[in-house]
């Protein structure tokens, strides 16, 4: 097999990947060659061993030492053959965070396990710690060689399928709120973990509440240092926001990517396409989306040339006005019909769904208001607002329960 390096041409890279797939993957039956069925873990193990799971990581850490663009190319080559398992250097938030923040022993022990299993779930938000996430109250107490965890988490997707969760919990109550947190790799499959689905505003049920009662996590599963959890968490959330700005929360509809734009088509169906007010609104909505795409292209160039993230930070905020705006126009185009729902009123059902789903972008992963703070403080370097909890130990802080 030819060795591929950062200097390899795209063609050489694709050839190498295709050669490997020829030997290992049965595209027609969508399973590994010589296997009778698709077993995820054993297939992912093969991908991992070949370095295609996380190609942009160093060789000693399961990768091939390639560039991110080469990693994307490998993923496309896999996709063309309908083979799963690659691109985890961009999507697997748990493995990415562990690789950036974890110590050598934990990475050696757990990265192969994480990379060959399901995506990690995220155990961050709590009923009383949303935008003010550093106020989490889930407690982690050391007992021998493990921590005992008690608390309640919310907005956890994939909680049922995940083997592990990235857990933010409080390990010191006598220091200011950011300083007493620890980030854990938390085993989900154990007694004391109860999962209850949430019925979302969209009618979907992708999120869960997770109730944790006397569950355990080995002491060596701390990611980063004890009481340094806020730093590890920052790394994890930055990746999540980056992914959201690409519009990942959106439902893909067949028509969206080809031919006439869905809003133009809807305006035509509803007989409003020649009305100047609608024409202006539709043009503006489509323009916001096109400009966001142009901004994202410049953001990628900025990242590659200087490592800067100032443009990257904008796309999640931009996506909110795009999604809320498009849903509002669709609703107005439908007029009275928009009160209907269900399979016999698909346009209305879609508009209603999209109007609700837009909040997934403008609240999830940090609200638009938090995102504006981040842009203003981290990118524009405006001064931080006075924090009422600064220097106050978490135990003495005002909270919902003490504010009455």
């Amino acid at each position: 097999m030819t060795t591929i390096t950062q200097e390899s041409t795209n063609q050489a890279l694709q050839n190498a990947v295709n050669d490997w797939l020829d030997v290992h993957w049965d595209t027609a039956n969508r399973r590994p060659i010589n296997a009778t069925e698709y077993d995820e873990r054993s297939w992912l193990k093969q991908v991992l061993d070949a370095g295609y799971c996380v190609p942009s990581w160093p060789k000693k850490w399961f990768g091939l030492g390639l560039t991110m663009q080469q990693s994307v190319l490998i993923e496309r080559t896999f996709q063309a053959r309908k083979a799963p398992g690659t691109g985890r250097d961009r999507y697997h938030l748990g493995a990415i965070t562990l690789s950036k923040m974890g110590n050598t022993e934990l990475k050696r022990e757990m990265l192969p396990e994480l990379l060959t299993g399901p995506i990690c779930c995220l155990l961050y938000s709590e009923p009383n710690a949303g935008s003010d996430l550093a106020g989490v109250r889930t407690r982690a107490e050391l007992d021998g060689d493990s921590f005992v965890i008690n608390g309640q988490k919310v907005w956890t997707s994939d909680a049922v399928s995940a083997d592990y969760g990235m857990l933010l919990a409080r390990t010191d109550w006598d220091v200011p709120k950011h300083q007493g947190l620890t980030f854990f790799l938390f085993p989900m499959k154990q007694p004391g973990v109860e999962i209850r689905p949430i019925n979302q505003i969209t009618g979907e049920s992708k999120f869960n509440e997770v109730f944790i009662t006397d569950a355990r996590v080995p002491r060596r599963f701390v990611i980063g240092d004890l009481n340094e959890g806020w730093r590890s968490f920052q790394t994890a959330i930055a990746y999540e926001r980056l992914i959201m700005g690409q519009g990942i929360t959106e439902r893909k509809r067949g028509a969206a990517n080809e031919g006439v734009h869905p809003l133009i088509a809807l305006a035509e169906r509803t007989g409003h396409l020649d009305e100047p007010i609608f024409r202006q609104r539709i043009a503006q909505a489509i323009a916001y989306r096109e400009v966001n795409k142009l901004n994202n292209e410049r953001a990628k160039e900025e990242m590659q040339s200087s490592g800067g993230i100032s443009l990257m930070s904008l796309s999640k905020l931009a996506m909110s006005r795009i999604q809320h705006g498009e849903a509002a126009i669709a609703t107005d185009l439908l007029g009275a019909e928009a009160i209907l729902d269900g399979d016999s009123a698909l346009d209305s059902a879609n508009a209603n769904f999209d109007a609700a789903k837009a909040y997934m972008n403008s609240i999830g992963g940090g609200t638009d208001q938090i995102q504006r703070n981040i842009i203003a403080e981290k990118v524009l370097q405006l001064p931080r607002e006075l924090d009422a909890s600064k220097g106050v130990s978490f135990r003495d802080m005002k909270s919902n329960s003490s504010a009455s």
Partner: protein
């Protein structure tokens, strides 16, 4: 058309930026109010010496052989400095139309002089490529190729050497170039922006050369390049004023803290930052679409046309609000940006027209 090499463009951007910071600061800008041109003519001569007036003209005419991306670079820098020189009219639209008719021997010297910057072209009429269109003009063309009548809103006409007239005659666009030295009377019109010099121009059997070689493609190219250049100018101006405003939020103290620490202002700043970057992205995309002759060039230019017009207006308006009382004075520079942003609203059709053009282009493509 080609554009300059990326490295050459970067070098030019560097030196133009340094020049404008040193020679076209706020004090110089304000001194322009007392000049009949609205700017110190010395500044124009320096721009000529740098070869910038010919940036968009081919080498055969003495130009630099640049493309839309190079014009984008120059305009975004001029916009930053709020520079009122007639670059858009004379060096982009005027030069583009004149060089398209280079086979006309009568135009040879005019082209050379306009490219070198020795002569300045002002533009008037109601054709789509005219920056400030006057639909109420009463110009008539006589059989002996002279022109009579009045057209208003011609920027810099009083100090220009030629006036380029674009008008519809029997549903056809006719373009003429008229020297200003005989039978042309310019009357200054008062502008809201103290740096702009609009004129009502009265022709009395003035000698006119018709640019009859112009094709529809030539006219559309001139318009597209004009819209893209204007967009770049607006994007540059919006960014400069945004930076001034962010600096103020960091240094102005109230309630014992910088006002930029308040979320009410921070959130406005974050939203404006999105607008400013969007304007730059749109202006760059338009220039690139022109240079690479992309299929969707009309759509991309229309996009830049309304995005940049709206963004400059919004940033200028919010910059005053963010500054508070200090910007409600003429001592502060914000009002000059704000006035210019408003003067640019109707240019080359305005935002709503570009939005409609954008949707039409999308409908046609589908």
């Amino acid at each position: 058309m080609k554009s300059l090499h990326e490295d050459d463009r970067s070098a030019m951007r560097e030196s133009l930026s340094r020049f404008l910071i040193a020679e076209a600061d706020e004090a110089t800008l304000r001194r322009g109010i007392d000049f009949s041109q609205g700017y110190d003519p010395k500044l124009w001569r320096q721009i000529c010496e740098m070869g910038l007036t010919g940036i968009a003209a081919a080498e055969v005419f003495g130009g630099a052989g640049g493309g839309a991306k190079d014009v984008e670079m120059v305009c975004s820098q001029l916009g930053r400095a709020l520079n009122p020189m007639p670059f858009l009219d004379s060096c982009v639209i005027g030069t583009g139309l004149l060089t398209a008719c280079s086979s006309n021997t009568h135009l040879k010297h005019i082209i050379e002089n306009v490219v070198s910057g020795e002569s300045i072209v002002a533009i008037g009429g109601n054709a789509p490529f005219v920056p400030l269109q006057d639909s109420r003009h009463n110009l008539t063309i006589h059989a002996d190729h002279t022109i009579s009548g009045t057209v208003s809103l011609v920027l810099n006409a009083a100090t220009a050497d030629f006036i380029l007239i674009g008008i519809t005659v029997d549903d056809q666009i006719k373009v003429f170039i008229v020297p200003t030295h005989a039978n042309v009377v310019c009357t200054a019109q008062q502008a809201n922006d103290p740096l702009l010099r609009p004129c009502a121009v009265c022709f009395e059997n003035a000698a006119a050369i018709e640019l009859n070689a112009l094709t529809e493609t030539d006219l559309e190219q001139a318009r597209l390049r004009g819209v893209a250049a204007l967009a770049a100018w607006q994007a540059g101006a919006a960014r400069a004023l945004f930076e001034i405003t962010i600096e103020y939020l960091k240094t102005r103290y109230q309630f014992g803290r910088p006002i930029g620490s308040f979320q009410a202002l921070k959130h406005m700043a974050a939203d404006l930052f999105l607008e400013v970057e969007s304007a730059t992205s749109a202006a760059l995309a338009a220039a690139e679409a022109i240079d690479e002759e992309k299929l969707e060039v009309a759509r991309t230019v229309a996009l830049a046309g309304f995005v940049c017009t709206d963004v400059f207006r919004e940033v200028a308006a919010q910059a005053i609000q963010l500054h508070g009382g200090i910007a409600y004075t003429q001592e502060h520079i914000a009002h000059l940006y704000w006035r210019r942003s408003r003067a640019m609203l109707p240019m080359l059709g305005g935002a709503d027209k570009h939005r409609e053009d954008y949707l039409k282009a999308l409908e046609t493509a589908a």
